[in-house]
Subunit: 358 residues, 4 copies
C-alpha cells in the first residue's frame, strides 16, 4: 500500500499516518520526493487491507492511497501458475481443449430437451446446457419448469453421455440442482449474491460464474474467490457482455477480457456470445472471434424452432446453424493453437496459455 | 408494439409478420410510408410482450421492433397517479416529508449502536440504519454480527422510538430480519436477485430497494414490480450511484433519476450519497443537492469514531458532521417545497410531486 | 416517426399533435389501442426530423416519440447495398481483402521511419502508418515532427511502394497532409469535429474515421455522413475501443461493432487493437479476434525499438512480433473467408459481407 | 511513480528497472515487502512521465506502474490555492457569485435574440448566451447563422449591458468570435480538439470549456491545462452530463464533479442542466441541485417560443419558466452560502470553497 501525502502536508500529518500503520503491526517506509513524501506500507497488509485503506484515505494531509497487491489470492495466476483444468464425465475444460456448451435457453419440455441434446451432441457440443430456474427481468415472464426441467436435463445427459450445466438462483436450490446437474451456473445478476457464492462453494460440483454485466474484472475475480475460498477450486469464468452506452447491441462483449484473464488467473474462460449480442446473426462471428482471442470455449443457445421459443428465441441458433458454427469453431481453434506459440510475453513473464517461465 | 419493415422487405414478408401477430389474437394495423411499411400491434400485448418482440425481431424483412408500453405496471405513475406514502411507527416516507436515515455502516457492538442511535435521533434522524448482514466484495472482510446485530438495532429502536432499516441478503434471512427491523433493505448487488425480491414481497414489511449499480431505471422499476406483484405495495427506491467510466468517485450519483422517478412512478425516492461518492467530505454537498432535486430523503452512514470503523469509515460522518448536515437539509427542504410550486409540467401532464391534472 | 400518447391524454391533446404534424405537410395516421392512441407520421419526415421530434416530445399528452428511419442515409447499407471498396496505389480496402496498416505511432526521424517501413513492407503490411501531427492528452508531451514527418512518410511510401495514412488534426492542415499522404486519418478525439469532417470531405483523398471513444455507432455513422455528404464517398471506419467502467484495459474493444457495421453500412471496417488495449501483449490475440469477427483489416503500431519510443511504446510491436502476427492474420483471414459462407442471415435480409438477396 | 514488481520477478529484472530510472537522471528507491519489491521513482518525474510509464510498464518482471503526481499543474488547486475569479464587463464568475447564463440555443434572427436578451436580463441572467456556429450531429440540420448571428449577439449585449458567451468550433473562427463575444465557449465534442484549445488559449478572452461527454475529470483538467499553458488563465469549466448506460435521460449529469472540482482545481464550475437532461421539465430541479452542490452558476437555454425553436426546443425554457427558476436559484444560493460554512474538510486540508488552511 502506497500513501501519497499532499504537497502541503505537514510533518505532523505524515507522523500520524506512520503511527496508524505501525499500530497495525506494519512498517512505514518513507520515500522523499522533491515535492512530497510517499509512504509505503510493508508487511502482511492483506488482513487489514480495506479498513486500513479506508482509514488512511481520509486522514489529514493524505492525497491518495493505492493498494499494490491484488485483493484476490486463490484465483490469481501468481499464487497458482498452472492452468486449472476441470474434468466432468471425461470432458476437460481448459488446457487447450475447446469446450462447446449448447442447448436451449429454457427447458420447455421433455421432447424438446432430448431432441436438442441429441442434435447438438451429434454436431460438436461437449456440454449440454438448459435452464430450469430462469431469472427474468419481468415477474410476468416464463420462469422455467423448475425441478421437472432438471429431470429432463439429467435424462438428456444419460442419452448423450454429455455432462450438463444449469443455473442455480438461490442457496436453497443448490442441493437439488447439484443432484441433477454436473456443473452449477451462477448467472450475471447473481455474481455478487454472496450467500449463493458461498453455497455453491460447498456443493462439491464445478461452478461456472458469469460476469456481472456491471462488474469489473477485479470484482469478478473476487466473486470467484468467494467460491474457491469456500472450498471449491473448480470454477469456470464466463464473459457474457458488459453494460456500456452503446445501445445497438444488448451488451458489449468484452473479448479483451479473455487474454487478460489468462494472465491474471489460472481459471478457464468461456464466452457466451448469445446473451452479449442478443441477435442470432451476431452469434457466429463473435464465437469465432472469442476462440481466436484464446477462449477455452463458448456457450450458445440452440432451439429446435427458435421462433417458437418461450425465451430468448431471437438469439437461439437452429440445429443447422449450430452444426455449421461448431465445425467452424473447431477449425479456428486448431489453427489458433499453433498460431499462439508466439514471442508475445506478458508482464511478470507469464505467457498467454499459462506456463510460467524465466 | 411497432414493427418497422426494411425498405426492401417484400409484401410476403410483411404478410408473415401480420400472420404472426394475428395468431396471438392481436390486430396488425398498417401504416404505409413513402419508403416502407410500419405495422402497429393493437390489443392486449402485455402477456406476450417479450416473446412476441423476440420472435418478430428476427423475422425476414423486419428492420426493428419497438415496444410502446412500459413493462412495469403496478409501480407506474400511469396506473397509480397518487404518491405512495409509507408509514412506519408514525414516521411517514414520501408526500412532502423529509426522511433522514442514519446510523453505522456495520453494527459493530451494542454500545456503538446505542450511542449512535441516540446521537442521530437527537439531531434529526427519522429512521435508524445499521448493517447486521454485510455484503462484502472480499470474502476476507468483516461480514457483520448477524442476528446479534439485529438485536442491538431493535434495542436502539426502543430506546429512541425511531423505526429501523437493515439489509437482508437471502430469502432464508427474511423472517428473522423482519422480526427485528421495521424496513427491509435490498442492496445494490441483489437488485435482480429475484428469489430475494419475491421473498421480501411476502414479508409484510416495507422494503427499500437500492438501485443496482449497473441497472437502468427501467430495470430498477421492474425489480420493484417483483416486490409489488408479490403482494407488497410498500416499496421505497434508493439511488446510490451507478457505474461509469469516471474513476475519481466510486460511482456516479445519478440525481436526475430523482425528478424522473417522480414522473414515472408513485414510489418515494431516497438518495444515498455515502456509497455513491465514497468520501466523507462529498456527502454533505451531494445530500443538499439530492434534496434540492426533490428527493424524499437521504440515507447516510454515521459512526462515533469513523477512523476506527470496521467498514466504510472513509465515508461515515461524525456525530457533529451529521448534526450540521441534518440541520442544513431541513432548511433546504423547507425552501425547496415552496420553490417547487411551479409552472413546470411534464409530458402526459403529470406534475413533479405527483398529483395528476388536466 | 411514432408518437405514443399517454393513457390519460385528452382527445384535444391528440388533435394538437395531429395539427402539428399536418402543418409540416405530413400525414398523421391513428392507431387506436386498448389503452392509448399511437399516431404515426407518414410522408417525407427527413427534412424536419429533429425539430419535429423535439417539438412533439414536449407537447401535453405525449408519452414518447420514436423515430423509425435511421438518420444516416448515404452511409447506410439500405441506400447502397454493395460494399464500398477503396483502392489506393493498387491496394484495395474492403471486399474480402485483408488490410494491414503498420508503422510507428509517431514519426521520430527519417531513419526510423524508413527502417520501419521496409521491415513492415517485407512482412505483410499493405499500408504504412506514421504520426506527424499528434493529438496528446498532455500539452507537455511530444507533439510530433509536423511537416518534416510528412516528408519522411512520403519518402517511405516511394521506397516501399505502399500507400500511406496519417492523422490530420485541423482544417488548415488538410491540404498539406493530403499532399504528402494517400489516406487522411481523423482521430478519436476529433470524430465530431465537424469543421474537420467537412474539410476532409472536400480533400479528394480517402479518409479513415476513428470511432470516438465515447460515441455510439449511430453517431459514428452520422460523422461519416458528414464526410460523404461533403462529396467524399471513400470512407473507412476504424474501431479503436470505447470507454467503459472497466479499468484493467485502457478502453474496451467493441468487436461486435464489426459484423454489426457490415449490416448497417457499406463502408469497410478496420480494427485498431493497439490503442484499445494499450498493451503490447494484448495486440496479437485481439487482432486475430478482429479478423475472425470479419474485420476488413487491422491497424497496429510497430517500432524498431519500442522501449525507446517517444509515444505509445508500451503498445508498439517489434519487427519480429509484427511479422509473426501478420503471418497469423493472413492464415486466419483465409480460413474465415471460407467459414463465413454460411446460413446466418440478418434482419432485412442483408448477409454478412454485404450482398443483398431475396 | 511507483513500480510494483511481480512476486516472481528476478533480481536481474528489478535491476533493469532501476537502470532505466537512473538513465533518466532520477533515483530508484526500494521498498522491500514480504512478497515483492516496490520501487519508487524520486526526482523531477514530470518531463518524462508518460514515456517512462510506458516503457517501465512493459519491462519483464513489472506488475504495474502507478503515477503519484497529477498530470495537470497550472489548473491544480495544489499549485494555485486561491479561487480564480473571472471578471467580464463588471460581472464576476466564481468566488461566491451566482452566475446565470441564459439565451437561445441558436440565434435564429435579430428580433428573437434581442427579445430573449431583454427578457432574461430583466429576470436574473448575468451573462447572455446564443449559438452562431452550431455543432450538429446531423449534416442535414440547421448549422447556425454564423457571423450574422454574432452581430445580433453583440447588439444584445449593448442593449442589456450583459457580457456574452458563444461557441467557437475551429481555430480559424477564433478571431471573429473573439471580436464579437466576451467569452469563448469550447463545446463538448471539441474538448480534446487540441488545435482549438491552443487557439483559444491565445485569444485574450475568457474561455468556458465544456466537459467532453466521454471524458474523465482528469482529461477535462488536462484540456484546461492546454488553454492555460497557452497563456490564458481565465478558464471556466462547465459540466454538461456524461455518457452512461442509462437511456431515459440524454446524458447523466455528474453533479458530484462540482465539489470534487472545487477540491482539485481553482477554476470556477458552471453546470448546464439543459443538455444533460434534454427535457425542459428536468431543467429546474437539476439547476437547483447544481447550486445546492456548490456550483458557481448554471447555463440554460431560453426561447421566446420553444415549440418553434430551430434546435433544442424540447429543452428550452419559456421566459416565465426562466424567471421562476432564476428567482429560485438565487434563494437557494443565498441559503447554501451560509450552510456551507461547515466542518467538512477534504484530504490535503483544502476546504470546499477553496481557501487552504492548516
Amino acid at each position: 500500500m502506497i500513501i501519497v501525502m499532499a504537497t502541503n502536508a505537514t510533518e505532523k500529518e505524515a507522523d500520524n499516518v506512520r503511527d496508524e500503520i505501525r499500530q497495525r503491526g506494519l512498517t512505514a517506509h518513507d520515500n522523499y520526493g522533491t515535492q512530497r513524501v510517499v509512504i509505503a506500507v510493508l508487511g502482511d497488509v492483506a488482513p487489514v487491507r480495506d479498513v486500513l485503506m479506508g482509514k488512511l484515505s481520509v486522514m489529514p494531509g493524505v492525497e491518495s492511497v493505492t493498494p499494490i497487491s491484488r485483493p484476490y489470492k486463490l484465483t490469481s495466476r501468481e499464487s497458482h501458475p498452472e492452468d486449472t483444468v476441470i474434468e466432468v464425465l471425461g470432458t476437460k475444460v481448459g488446457n487447450g481443449n475447446l469446450t462447446i456448451m449448447a442447448g436451449p435457453c429454457s427447458i420447455e419440455g421433455r421432447d424438446m430437451m432430448l431432441e436438442t441434446a441429441q442434435a447438438v451432441a451429434a454436431s460438436g457440443a461437449t456440454i449440454l446446457r438448459g435452464g430450469a430456474f430462469k431469472p427474468r427481468t419481468s415477474p410476468y415472464a416464463f420462469q422455467g419448469l423448475g425441478i421437472e426441467g432438471l429431470k429432463y436435463l439429467a435424462e438428456a445427459s444419460k442419452l448423450t453421455g454429455l455432462p450438463t450445466i444449469t443455473e442455480v438462483m438461490e442457496p436453497s436450490q443448490v442441493d437439488v440442482v447439484a443432484e441433477h446437474s454436473d456443473i452449477l451456473q451462477v448467472g450475471t445478476r447473481n455474481m455478487q449474491n454472496y450467500s449463493l457464492l458461498t453455497a455453491v462453494g460447498k456443493a462439491g460440483k464445478p461452478v461456472m460464474l458469469k460476469r456481472g454485466y456491471g462488474a469489473t474484472i477485479e470484482e469478478w475475480l473476487m466473486a470467484a474467490e468467494y467460491i474457491v475460498s469456500s472450498g471449491n477450486p473448480h470454477v469456470i469464468l464466463c464473459e457474457r457482455g458488459i453494460r456500456t452506452f452503446e445501445t445497438y447491441t444488448r451488451n458489449t462483449l468484452d473479448l479483451t477480457a479473455v487474454p487478460l484473464l489468462h494472465h491474471l488467473t489460472h481459471l478457464p474462460v468461456i464466452v457466451d456470445p448469445s446473451h452479449a449480442t442478443g441477435k442470432r446473426w451476431l452469434v457466429k462471428p463473435m464465437a469465432l472471434a472469442a476462440v481466436a482471442a484464446g477462449a477455452d470455449g463458448i456457450m450458445v443457445e440452440v432451439h429446435p424452432n427458435p421462433d417458437q421459443a418461450r425465451s430468448d428465441g431471437e438469439q437461439s441458433l437452429t440445429f443447422d446453424q449450430f452444426a455449421d458454427m461448431a465445425s467452424a469453431l473447431n477449425q479456428i481453434h486448431e489453427m489458433v493453437k499453433t498460431l499462439n506459440k508466439d514471442p508475445f510475453t506478458m508482464p511478470g513473464q507469464v505467457k498467454v496459455g499459462g506456463t510460467s517461465k524465466h
